[in-house]
Symmetry: C2
Subunit: 216 residues, 2 copies
């Protein structure tokens, strides 16, 4: 079971369309401006979340009549919309992808990375996905496949303090018992050499990032 | 005394030009692709750092003859170029601004935020600066002025674990003894109400972010 969250951040519409085509989701949550993208693209969300200050009540009532769950919040809650959507996805127990989590504002991007922690703490894998960056958090040994991380570079950054006993196998640069400390930009720009690579640690939480040079 | 680091990430050239005009720097370090921007813009760096795989040795020898310090690294060291530049700035004891630290690749952006830690640990304030985002780290009480953080929103994200006893004064949303934990997107989209606002904490390291909606 998989959930797709479409948030109001900026994203490449061509990428979003091809990503939506390639993946199958059981449940779609549109967050605030993400609803406009759904409408444009003919995607019917199962839930919409946001303050919708640009939408009238009539619109929202219409969605509710169509059987779409509407969760409306006051604008002061705006910045936790994606958090609320991730909580909803986690409640459903679904692996979750989030489109539109990156944009111009770096504080929103960092908040969205932090929002992944709720999923991790509840044993659900959630990813932030764009054309150039795919991000998830992990605190236990895991595999990375080329299918899950299709872009060229694989990087690791510590999430909330150091990550001890890191081991990397199946990568261009391997590690065996490394401590990744905050403040050091190691573990950037690694690459998979095998179709499936292995990552483990004794303690700590990793931000795993799959990225490509965008040429921007 | 202030140092400007110009790195090879993507940045708005018009913003960079106006930012360079408004600020006075004693020392300029060009990192890898940032050297091209310097050449285009008639900025003479005092030091250049990078692997310069797109530049011939002759070019670099030319810079050296002009009295510019050249620090050349093998390409495998590429991703720590900005780190090396920050270390050089810290050695000089200078407050430091970094242009070009944000770009398409989120792993580079996160690595650049982590690179600020070396400056913090050595008592030097360093900022990553773009048209839409200004970022620094802090682990002791500090002031924020509108001059230092001119954009609309001020957000705080914990850097390497929780930040305890947070107090905010002079902001739209104030705090008095709050614990900011990793995994929660609180402290996003605050705003200054006074020309100088105050932030303090009992323990922990904050990522302070000044941002504006880019309209992208």
């Amino acid at each position: 079971m998989r959930t797709l969250i479409i948030t109001g951040g900026s994203f490449d519409r061509a990428f979003a369309a091809s990503f939506y085509k390639k993946n199958v989701y059981d449940y779609v949550i549109a967050v605030d401006g993400g609803l406009d993208y759904c409408t444009e693209s003919g995607i019917r969300p199962d839930m919409i979340v946001g303050d919708f200050d640009t939408h009238g009540n009539d619109d929202l009532d219409g969605y509710a009549r169509e059987g779409i769950t509407v969760r409306r919040f006051i604008p002061e809650k705006d910045d936790t919309d994606t958090e609320i959507a991730i909580h909803e996805a986690v409640k459903r127990g679904n692996e979750t992808d989030v489109l539109g989590a990156f944009g111009g504002r770096l504080d929103h991007t960092l908040a969205n990375i932090h929002n992944l922690y709720f999923a991790l703490a509840n044993g659900i894998r959630a990813r932030l996905v764009s054309a150039d960056n795919i991000v998830f958090l992990e605190n236990k040994p895991f595999e990375i496949t080329r299918e899950y991380f299709p872009l060229k570079y694989v990087s690791f950054v510590p999430f909330a303090g150091e990550v001890t006993g890191m081991k990397l196998k199946g990568f261009k640069y391997t590690l065996d018992g490394y401590t990744l400390k905050p403040g050091y930009s190691r573990c950037i720009s690694n690459e998979l050499t095998d179709d499936t690579a292995y990552v483990s640690m004794d303690s700590g939480i990793l931000i795993a990032i799959n990225s490509a040079d965008s040429g921007l």
